[in-house]
Assembly symmetry: C2
Protein backbone atom coordinates (compact mmCIF):
# COMPACT_ATOMS: atom_id res chain seq x y z
CA UNK A 1 0.00 0.00 0.00
CA UNK A 2 3.06 2.27 0.28
CA UNK A 3 3.17 4.72 -2.64
CA UNK A 4 6.96 4.67 -2.75
CA UNK A 5 9.04 2.42 -0.57
CA UNK A 6 11.85 4.16 1.24
CA UNK A 7 15.15 3.37 -0.47
CA UNK A 8 16.74 0.43 1.27
CA UNK A 9 20.10 2.10 0.98
CA UNK A 10 19.06 4.83 3.38
CA UNK A 11 19.38 3.90 7.02
CA UNK A 12 17.82 7.20 7.98
CA UNK A 13 14.68 6.37 5.97
CA UNK A 14 14.49 2.94 7.54
CA UNK A 15 14.72 4.50 11.00
CA UNK A 16 11.93 6.95 10.15
CA UNK A 17 9.81 4.18 8.74
CA UNK A 18 10.22 2.10 11.91
CA UNK A 19 9.49 5.16 14.10
CA UNK A 20 6.33 5.90 12.10
CA UNK A 21 5.11 2.30 12.47
CA UNK A 22 5.81 2.26 16.20
CA UNK A 23 4.07 5.60 16.67
CA UNK A 24 1.04 4.53 14.63
CA UNK A 25 0.60 1.26 16.56
CA UNK A 26 1.05 2.92 19.95
CA UNK A 27 -1.29 5.82 19.14
CA UNK A 28 -4.13 3.78 17.68
CA UNK A 29 -4.09 1.68 20.84
CA UNK A 30 -4.28 4.84 22.96
CA UNK A 31 -6.79 7.01 21.12
CA UNK A 32 -8.65 4.58 18.82
CA UNK A 33 -8.83 4.60 15.06
CA UNK A 34 -11.28 7.51 14.68
CA UNK A 35 -9.06 9.94 16.55
CA UNK A 36 -5.80 8.77 14.98
CA UNK A 37 -4.32 11.41 12.67
CA UNK A 38 -1.30 11.63 10.38
CA UNK A 39 -0.28 14.73 12.36
CA UNK A 40 -0.38 12.74 15.59
CA UNK A 41 1.70 9.95 14.13
CA UNK A 42 4.24 12.40 12.70
CA UNK A 43 4.57 14.23 15.98
CA UNK A 44 5.00 11.02 18.02
CA UNK A 45 7.49 9.65 15.49
CA UNK A 46 9.48 12.88 15.35
CA UNK A 47 9.15 13.25 11.60
CA UNK A 48 7.41 15.78 9.38
CA UNK A 49 3.87 15.14 8.11
CA UNK A 50 5.21 15.27 4.54
CA UNK A 51 7.51 12.33 5.25
CA UNK A 52 4.46 10.22 5.99
CA UNK A 53 2.44 11.51 3.03
CA UNK A 54 5.36 10.79 0.70
CA UNK A 55 5.10 7.08 1.52
CA UNK A 56 1.46 6.49 2.43
CA UNK A 57 -1.83 7.99 1.20
CA UNK A 58 -3.76 7.62 4.49
CA UNK A 59 -3.61 6.62 8.13
CA UNK A 60 -5.20 3.28 7.21
CA UNK A 61 -2.34 2.59 4.82
CA UNK A 62 0.27 3.38 7.49
CA UNK A 63 -1.42 1.12 10.02
CA UNK A 64 -1.87 -1.78 7.66
CA UNK A 65 1.80 -1.67 6.68
CA UNK A 66 2.77 -1.40 10.35
CA UNK A 67 0.71 -4.51 11.14
CA UNK A 68 1.87 -6.47 8.15
CA UNK A 69 5.43 -5.89 9.24
CA UNK A 70 4.63 -6.71 12.84
CA UNK A 71 2.78 -9.97 12.48
CA UNK A 72 4.24 -13.37 11.80
CA UNK A 73 5.69 -14.00 8.41
CA UNK A 74 3.27 -16.32 6.70
CA UNK A 75 5.33 -16.83 3.58
CA UNK A 76 6.89 -20.02 4.92
CA UNK A 77 3.48 -21.57 5.61
CA UNK A 78 2.66 -23.73 8.62
CA UNK A 79 5.09 -26.37 9.81
CA UNK A 80 4.53 -29.77 8.24
CA UNK A 81 6.14 -32.48 10.34
CA UNK A 82 3.63 -35.01 9.09
CA UNK A 83 1.77 -34.79 12.43
CA UNK A 84 -1.18 -32.47 11.75
CA UNK A 85 -2.37 -32.33 15.37
CA UNK A 86 1.08 -31.42 16.67
CA UNK A 87 1.63 -28.81 13.94
CA UNK A 88 -1.71 -27.08 14.60
CA UNK A 89 -1.21 -27.06 18.37
CA UNK A 90 2.32 -25.73 18.02
CA UNK A 91 1.23 -22.79 15.87
CA UNK A 92 -1.92 -22.02 17.87
CA UNK A 93 -0.01 -22.05 21.16
CA UNK A 94 2.30 -19.40 19.72
CA UNK A 95 -0.73 -17.41 18.50
CA UNK A 96 -2.27 -17.71 21.98
CA UNK A 97 0.83 -16.12 23.49
CA UNK A 98 0.76 -13.36 20.88
CA UNK A 99 -2.95 -12.55 21.33
CA UNK A 100 -2.61 -12.50 25.12
CA UNK A 101 0.22 -9.93 24.87
CA UNK A 102 -1.11 -6.46 25.85
CA UNK A 103 1.26 -4.72 23.41
CA UNK A 104 -0.40 -6.63 20.57
CA UNK A 105 -3.96 -6.27 21.82
CA UNK A 106 -4.65 -2.55 21.80
CA UNK A 107 -3.79 -1.65 18.20
CA UNK A 108 -5.25 -4.84 16.76
CA UNK A 109 -8.51 -4.33 18.64
CA UNK A 110 -8.72 -0.70 17.53
CA UNK A 111 -8.35 -1.73 13.90
CA UNK A 112 -10.85 -4.59 14.20
CA UNK A 113 -13.37 -2.27 15.86
CA UNK A 114 -12.95 0.41 13.22
CA UNK A 115 -13.38 -2.26 10.56
CA UNK A 116 -16.72 -3.41 11.98
CA UNK A 117 -18.19 -0.04 11.02
CA UNK A 118 -16.07 0.85 7.99
CA UNK A 119 -16.60 -1.60 5.18
CA UNK A 120 -13.69 -0.51 3.01
CA UNK A 121 -11.20 -0.56 5.87
CA UNK A 122 -12.58 -3.93 6.90
CA UNK A 123 -12.09 -5.41 3.44
CA UNK A 124 -8.50 -4.16 3.31
CA UNK A 125 -7.85 -5.39 6.85
CA UNK A 126 -9.19 -8.83 5.97
CA UNK A 127 -7.32 -9.03 2.66
CA UNK A 128 -4.00 -7.82 4.07
CA UNK A 129 -3.99 -9.33 7.54
CA UNK A 130 -6.54 -12.09 7.96
CA UNK A 131 -6.63 -13.84 4.59
CA UNK A 132 -2.88 -14.58 4.45
CA UNK A 133 -3.23 -16.21 7.87
CA UNK A 134 -6.26 -18.26 6.78
CA UNK A 135 -4.52 -19.27 3.55
CA UNK A 136 -1.58 -21.01 5.22
CA UNK A 137 -4.02 -23.16 7.19
CA UNK A 138 -5.95 -23.97 4.01
CA UNK A 139 -2.68 -25.00 2.34
CA UNK A 140 -1.60 -27.14 5.30
CA UNK A 141 -4.99 -28.89 5.26
CA UNK A 142 -4.86 -29.51 1.53
CA UNK A 143 -1.48 -31.17 2.04
CA UNK A 144 -3.04 -33.28 4.80
CA UNK A 145 -5.92 -34.11 2.46
CA UNK A 146 -3.43 -35.34 -0.13
CA UNK A 147 -1.66 -37.38 2.54
CA UNK A 148 -4.98 -39.01 3.42
CA UNK A 149 -5.14 -37.41 6.90
CA UNK A 150 -8.18 -35.29 5.98
CA UNK A 151 -11.24 -36.71 4.22
CA UNK A 152 -11.67 -35.82 0.56
CA UNK A 153 -15.21 -34.47 0.93
CA UNK A 154 -14.30 -31.85 3.55
CA UNK A 155 -14.72 -28.19 2.53
CA UNK A 156 -11.26 -27.10 3.67
CA UNK A 157 -11.99 -23.37 3.74
CA UNK A 158 -15.01 -23.81 6.02
CA UNK A 159 -13.06 -26.30 8.13
CA UNK A 160 -10.34 -23.68 8.69
CA UNK A 161 -12.98 -21.17 9.73
CA UNK A 162 -14.29 -23.73 12.25
CA UNK A 163 -10.77 -23.94 13.69
CA UNK A 164 -9.79 -20.26 13.66
CA UNK A 165 -13.05 -18.34 14.21
CA UNK A 166 -13.69 -19.68 17.73
CA UNK A 167 -10.19 -18.48 18.59
CA UNK A 168 -10.67 -15.01 17.03
CA UNK A 169 -14.11 -14.60 18.53
CA UNK A 170 -13.02 -15.47 22.07
CA UNK A 171 -10.35 -12.84 21.72
CA UNK A 172 -12.31 -10.08 19.99
CA UNK A 173 -15.58 -10.41 21.89
CA UNK A 174 -14.00 -11.71 25.09
CA UNK A 175 -16.41 -14.65 25.15
CA UNK A 176 -13.81 -16.89 26.74
CA UNK A 177 -10.17 -17.24 27.76
CA UNK A 178 -7.49 -18.11 25.23
CA UNK A 179 -5.52 -20.92 26.85
CA UNK A 180 -3.47 -23.88 25.64
CA UNK A 181 -6.20 -26.20 27.01
CA UNK A 182 -8.85 -24.47 24.91
CA UNK A 183 -6.63 -24.67 21.82
CA UNK A 184 -5.88 -28.35 22.38
CA UNK A 185 -9.58 -29.29 22.71
CA UNK A 186 -10.40 -27.14 19.69
CA UNK A 187 -7.75 -28.89 17.58
CA UNK A 188 -8.81 -32.35 18.79
CA UNK A 189 -12.49 -31.72 17.99
CA UNK A 190 -11.54 -30.13 14.70
CA UNK A 191 -9.52 -33.21 13.68
CA UNK A 192 -12.35 -35.50 14.77
CA UNK A 193 -14.53 -33.66 12.24
CA UNK A 194 -12.14 -33.68 9.29
CA UNK A 195 -10.39 -37.06 9.57
CA UNK A 196 -11.44 -39.84 7.22
CA UNK A 197 -13.98 -42.16 8.84
CA UNK A 198 -12.36 -45.40 9.67
CA UNK B 1 -30.81 -3.12 33.25
CA UNK B 2 -33.83 -0.79 33.48
CA UNK B 3 -33.89 0.98 36.84
CA UNK B 4 -37.68 0.95 36.94
CA UNK B 5 -39.79 -0.74 34.32
CA UNK B 6 -42.57 1.39 32.96
CA UNK B 7 -45.89 0.29 34.48
CA UNK B 8 -47.54 -2.18 32.15
CA UNK B 9 -50.86 -0.53 32.80
CA UNK B 10 -49.77 2.63 31.05
CA UNK B 11 -50.11 2.53 27.30
CA UNK B 12 -48.46 5.92 27.03
CA UNK B 13 -45.37 4.63 28.83
CA UNK B 14 -45.25 1.62 26.57
CA UNK B 15 -45.44 3.86 23.51
CA UNK B 16 -42.60 6.02 24.86
CA UNK B 17 -40.52 2.97 25.64
CA UNK B 18 -40.98 1.62 22.12
CA UNK B 19 -40.18 5.05 20.60
CA UNK B 20 -37.01 5.28 22.70
CA UNK B 21 -35.86 1.82 21.58
CA UNK B 22 -36.57 2.57 17.93
CA UNK B 23 -34.74 5.91 18.17
CA UNK B 24 -31.74 4.36 19.93
CA UNK B 25 -31.37 1.56 17.35
CA UNK B 26 -31.76 3.91 14.38
CA UNK B 27 -29.37 6.51 15.78
CA UNK B 28 -26.57 4.16 16.77
CA UNK B 29 -26.65 2.78 13.25
CA UNK B 30 -26.40 6.29 11.84
CA UNK B 31 -23.83 7.98 14.09
CA UNK B 32 -22.04 5.08 15.83
CA UNK B 33 -21.86 4.31 19.51
CA UNK B 34 -19.36 7.00 20.49
CA UNK B 35 -21.52 9.83 19.17
CA UNK B 36 -24.80 8.43 20.46
CA UNK B 37 -26.23 10.56 23.29
CA UNK B 38 -29.26 10.35 25.58
CA UNK B 39 -30.20 13.83 24.29
CA UNK B 40 -30.15 12.57 20.71
CA UNK B 41 -32.28 9.56 21.56
CA UNK B 42 -34.78 11.71 23.47
CA UNK B 43 -35.08 14.20 20.65
CA UNK B 44 -35.56 11.50 17.99
CA UNK B 45 -38.09 9.68 20.17
CA UNK B 46 -40.01 12.86 20.99
CA UNK B 47 -39.66 12.41 24.75
CA UNK B 48 -37.90 14.40 27.45
CA UNK B 49 -34.39 13.44 28.57
CA UNK B 50 -35.72 12.82 32.06
CA UNK B 51 -38.08 10.15 30.76
CA UNK B 52 -35.06 8.19 29.60
CA UNK B 53 -33.02 8.78 32.74
CA UNK B 54 -35.97 7.65 34.88
CA UNK B 55 -35.78 4.20 33.30
CA UNK B 56 -32.15 3.73 32.27
CA UNK B 57 -28.83 4.85 33.78
CA UNK B 58 -26.90 5.14 30.48
CA UNK B 59 -27.07 4.94 26.71
CA UNK B 60 -25.55 1.46 26.90
CA UNK B 61 -28.44 0.33 29.10
CA UNK B 62 -31.03 1.73 26.66
CA UNK B 63 -29.37 0.01 23.72
CA UNK B 64 -28.98 -3.32 25.42
CA UNK B 65 -32.66 -3.33 26.40
CA UNK B 66 -33.62 -2.29 22.88
CA UNK B 67 -31.61 -5.19 21.45
CA UNK B 68 -32.83 -7.71 23.98
CA UNK B 69 -36.38 -6.84 23.04
CA UNK B 70 -35.59 -6.90 19.34
CA UNK B 71 -33.79 -10.21 19.01
CA UNK B 72 -35.35 -13.63 18.98
CA UNK B 73 -36.81 -14.90 22.18
CA UNK B 74 -34.46 -17.58 23.38
CA UNK B 75 -36.54 -18.68 26.34
CA UNK B 76 -38.18 -21.49 24.36
CA UNK B 77 -34.80 -22.93 23.35
CA UNK B 78 -34.02 -24.43 19.94
CA UNK B 79 -36.53 -26.70 18.22
CA UNK B 80 -36.07 -30.37 19.06
CA UNK B 81 -37.75 -32.53 16.45
CA UNK B 82 -35.30 -35.35 17.13
CA UNK B 83 -33.42 -34.48 13.91
CA UNK B 84 -30.43 -32.42 15.05
CA UNK B 85 -29.22 -31.55 11.53
CA UNK B 86 -32.65 -30.29 10.46
CA UNK B 87 -33.13 -28.31 13.67
CA UNK B 88 -29.74 -26.57 13.39
CA UNK B 89 -30.23 -25.74 9.70
CA UNK B 90 -33.73 -24.42 10.34
CA UNK B 91 -32.56 -22.03 13.04
CA UNK B 92 -29.39 -20.95 11.24
CA UNK B 93 -31.28 -20.23 8.02
CA UNK B 94 -33.53 -17.87 10.00
CA UNK B 95 -30.46 -16.29 11.59
CA UNK B 96 -28.90 -15.87 8.13
CA UNK B 97 -31.96 -13.92 6.98
CA UNK B 98 -31.82 -11.79 10.11
CA UNK B 99 -28.10 -10.99 9.83
CA UNK B 100 -28.43 -10.12 6.13
CA UNK B 101 -31.19 -7.60 6.92
CA UNK B 102 -29.78 -4.03 6.68
CA UNK B 103 -32.12 -2.80 9.44
CA UNK B 104 -30.53 -5.30 11.81
CA UNK B 105 -26.95 -4.78 10.64
CA UNK B 106 -26.17 -1.17 11.43
CA UNK B 107 -27.02 -1.02 15.14
CA UNK B 108 -25.64 -4.48 15.89
CA UNK B 109 -22.37 -3.66 14.14
CA UNK B 110 -22.08 -0.35 15.99
CA UNK B 111 -22.49 -2.11 19.32
CA UNK B 112 -20.06 -4.89 18.43
CA UNK B 113 -17.47 -2.35 17.28
CA UNK B 114 -17.84 -0.27 20.43
CA UNK B 115 -17.48 -3.45 22.48
CA UNK B 116 -14.17 -4.37 20.84
CA UNK B 117 -12.61 -1.31 22.46
CA UNK B 118 -14.70 -1.01 25.63
CA UNK B 119 -14.23 -4.01 27.86
CA UNK B 120 -17.15 -3.33 30.23
CA UNK B 121 -19.61 -2.73 27.40
CA UNK B 122 -18.32 -5.84 25.69
CA UNK B 123 -18.84 -7.99 28.77
CA UNK B 124 -22.42 -6.71 29.16
CA UNK B 125 -23.07 -7.16 25.45
CA UNK B 126 -21.83 -10.74 25.59
CA UNK B 127 -23.70 -11.57 28.80
CA UNK B 128 -27.00 -10.03 27.68
CA UNK B 129 -27.02 -10.77 23.95
CA UNK B 130 -24.54 -13.45 22.98
CA UNK B 131 -24.50 -15.87 25.92
CA UNK B 132 -28.27 -16.52 25.90
CA UNK B 133 -27.96 -17.42 22.22
CA UNK B 134 -24.98 -19.71 22.85
CA UNK B 135 -26.76 -21.32 25.81
CA UNK B 136 -29.74 -22.61 23.80
CA UNK B 137 -27.33 -24.36 21.43
CA UNK B 138 -25.45 -25.86 24.37
CA UNK B 139 -28.75 -27.13 25.80
CA UNK B 140 -29.87 -28.58 22.47
CA UNK B 141 -26.53 -30.38 22.12
CA UNK B 142 -26.69 -31.76 25.64
CA UNK B 143 -30.11 -33.19 24.82
CA UNK B 144 -28.60 -34.72 21.67
CA UNK B 145 -25.76 -36.10 23.78
CA UNK B 146 -28.28 -37.78 26.07
CA UNK B 147 -30.10 -39.16 23.02
CA UNK B 148 -26.82 -40.66 21.80
CA UNK B 149 -26.60 -38.38 18.74
CA UNK B 150 -23.51 -36.58 20.07
CA UNK B 151 -20.51 -38.42 21.49
CA UNK B 152 -20.06 -38.34 25.26
CA UNK B 153 -16.49 -37.03 25.16
CA UNK B 154 -17.31 -33.88 23.16
CA UNK B 155 -16.80 -30.54 24.91
CA UNK B 156 -20.21 -29.13 24.04
CA UNK B 157 -19.39 -25.50 24.75
CA UNK B 158 -16.37 -25.53 22.42
CA UNK B 159 -18.39 -27.47 19.82
CA UNK B 160 -21.04 -24.72 19.84
CA UNK B 161 -18.32 -22.12 19.35
CA UNK B 162 -17.08 -24.12 16.34
CA UNK B 163 -20.60 -23.93 14.89
CA UNK B 164 -21.48 -20.31 15.70
CA UNK B 165 -18.17 -18.41 15.54
CA UNK B 166 -17.55 -18.99 11.82
CA UNK B 167 -21.02 -17.56 11.23
CA UNK B 168 -20.46 -14.51 13.48
CA UNK B 169 -16.99 -13.88 12.10
CA UNK B 170 -18.11 -13.96 8.46
CA UNK B 171 -20.71 -11.40 9.35
CA UNK B 172 -18.69 -9.11 11.62
CA UNK B 173 -15.41 -9.12 9.68
CA UNK B 174 -17.02 -9.68 6.28
CA UNK B 175 -14.67 -12.61 5.62
CA UNK B 176 -17.34 -14.37 3.58
CA UNK B 177 -20.98 -14.41 2.55
CA UNK B 178 -23.69 -15.72 4.83
CA UNK B 179 -25.73 -18.09 2.67
CA UNK B 180 -27.85 -21.17 3.24
CA UNK B 181 -25.19 -23.23 1.41
CA UNK B 182 -22.51 -22.05 3.81
CA UNK B 183 -24.73 -22.82 6.79
CA UNK B 184 -25.57 -26.30 5.49
CA UNK B 185 -21.91 -27.24 4.95
CA UNK B 186 -21.04 -25.78 8.36
CA UNK B 187 -23.74 -27.87 10.06
CA UNK B 188 -22.76 -31.03 8.15
CA UNK B 189 -19.08 -30.68 9.05
CA UNK B 190 -20.00 -29.79 12.61
CA UNK B 191 -22.10 -32.95 12.97
CA UNK B 192 -19.34 -35.05 11.42
CA UNK B 193 -17.11 -33.84 14.27
CA UNK B 194 -19.50 -34.42 17.16
CA UNK B 195 -21.34 -37.61 16.17
CA UNK B 196 -20.37 -40.85 17.87
CA UNK B 197 -17.91 -42.85 15.79
CA UNK B 198 -19.48 -45.88 14.25
Amino acid sequence: MAKTSPPDSSRRSERSRRAIFDAALALVGEVGYDKLTIEGIASRAGVGKQTIYRWWPSKAAVLLDAFTEGVEDYSAGLPDTGDLAADLKFVLHATTDEFNDPAFQAPYRALAAAGANDEELSRTFVARLMEPGIRVYVERLRAAQEAGEVADDIDVRIAVEMLLSPFSQRWLMRTGELTYDFVDTLVDQFLRGVQPRG
